[in-house]
Symmetry: C2
Subunit: 217 residues, 2 copies
Amino acid sequence: MGHVAASTRERILEEGLALMSQSGLSGVTLGALADQVGMSKSGLFAHFRSKEDVQIGLLQYMAGFATARVVAPTMKVEEGLPRLKALILNWFGWTRRAGLPGGCPVAAGMFEFDDIHGPVRNKILEMEAEWRDLLSGLVQQAMDRGHLGPDLDRDQFVWELCAIYLGHHAAYRFLRSADAERRAQRAYEALLDRAAHVSVKKKTKRTATKRVKKERL
Amino acid sequence: MGHVAASTRERILEEGLALMSQSGLSGVTLGALADQVGMSKSGLFAHFRSKEDVQIGLLQYMAGFATARVVAPTMKVEEGLPRLKALILNWFGWTRRAGLPGGCPVAAGMFEFDDIHGPVRNKILEMEAEWRDLLSGLVQQAMDRGHLGPDLDRDQFVWELCAIYLGHHAAYRFLRSADAERRAQRAYEALLDRAAHVSVKKKTKRTATKRVKKERL
């Protein structure tokens, strides 16, 4: 992020995104952001009306920032499984490659805002839903092209992929495990392997579904 | 938690655990805790020296609280896969069944404290390591009894199980998805299915490992 920011608002958002990545959404107070940007709190008020307004602005800014770095480059990749794989490669650990000092604000936000109702939670919900829809669309393309089994439960696939992402985030960012990438890669390869052969395993899957009904979590 | 608390410290910890479950570790300020317990901040200082001291005390209290509710009941279950399954059933969604108003403080803490160094982060690290060790031990027992394949990568199994737990936590607590339990159950059944037949699939697994080396996350 070394280029000269186009405007003060842009500069606040750039600095704020770094702060949000490292300190979480609740760490983005007007005071902490003013310190980071090197301006007064009253100066900030010219651009944002409240802490919530800053948080939502930063999440919106992050969406564009991440789309340009994680999603856009994959649009050149062949549709179907190649594009899905390219997106996953760009997604896991994306904040580090994008030059952010901390983790993924949406992943953290899902744990920070699980019980805090209001517009910030709603914004995270909207972003997470959009992300899962994007993944679903790519999985569907891979199914349509015969790269993934025709009987694949697409929503289950996306659900498990998002779980692996959270597991990777915790292992890589919190536990600082040296093998976080290798573990995530193996989990995701196993998920793809199941997805590619899903019609063959249909009978086994049905037996598993019966077991689900017997012993619920 | 309707019973009369044995002591003031116990009462502070009980109320604090509910607060921590709902507001996260950083939500447990001395002011918020004093309000919740109905005592003055100076009264709290008789029991805890600092916010960090309260947070660590609460995490320690949570460990005992969760062990009694999640782990202890499974010690009556037959060793091996039955005990592992019983633990997983008790673990997923444990805070709701334990009467807590929010989510799992350790799961949230792994996202809240990924970049905040100090004794609170160290305490969460220690608790997460103990938890993964406990799971590893149960997986090993299941392998020793032939319930899971002899070539199973135990650490990988535990890693994926913890990822499913985080996926379930986000789906159930944040997204409030009606199908969170069903999705987690299917993910975990698929993981068990792979683990039970791991020696049969060894060749496929090796091919997958080769792919891992080609395209790293």
